[in-house]
Amino acid sequence: QQPVQSPQAVILREGEDAVINCSSSKALYSVHWYRQKHGEAPVFLMILLKGGEQKGHDKISASFNEKKQQSSLYLTASQLSYSGTYFCGTEGGGSNYKLTFGKGTLLTVNP
């Protein structure tokens, strides 16, 4: 089942912060975050595994609340290069390794 992302779109000025949320109705084993520029393939940002961890990646970090089946991606002091569509992908565990993505969040960073 497809995870639900919010918001669908967000517009920022350079230097502002943003939060993108991802939630699932099923128990999650892992959450993946990817960013896609228009016309290109998605690029991996990070993976969070069951255990309620938080990860950081320069000024982009994420949290994973296993009990609530939710993850959030935090972008701080946004840069123009952060523009793109952000996807969360979820995996429910087991041995099938099926990774299902949400509809994406379009982030636009303006000067």
Binding site: A41, P42, Y97, F101
Partner: protein
């Protein structure tokens, strides 16, 4: 190092014509393979995934099919294309038995007229 090749990059096909998109992975063995489609407003839709030769799991019942004739080859096919098959098709792989990063191909943009 591992690489993934996907072709053709772009194609325009008439309704009712057949389709074949091919994806190969180099530099690794026994990968998990995936086909996703990206159409407007639907994000990355998982179409098929495979954990081994001849093992295909279908996520969306439609007129598409997938095959994995060799360990590192994944093919997406259709006998008769529909207008709704238009979109950006992405092949991806990741290491067998691991919850790790998905590596995507460059994508194939299909327009059905």
């Amino acid at each position: 190092s591992q690489t993934i090749h996907q072709w053709p990059a772009t194609l325009v096909q008439p309704v009712g014509s057949p389709l074949s998109l091919e994806c190969t992975v180099e530099g690794t063995s026994n990968p998990n393979l995936y086909w996703y489609r990206q159409a407007a407003g639907r994000g990355l839709q998982l179409l098929f995934y495979s954990v081994g030769i001849g093992q295909i799991s279908s996520e969306v019942p439609q007129n598409l099919s997938a095959s994995r004739p060799q360990d590192r080859q994944f093919i997406l096919s259709s006998k008769k294309l529909l207008l709704s098959d238009s979109g950006f098709y992405l092949c991806a792989w990741r290491r067998r038995g691991q919850t790790g990063e998905l590596f995507f191909g460059e994508g194939s943009r299909l327009t059905v007229l």
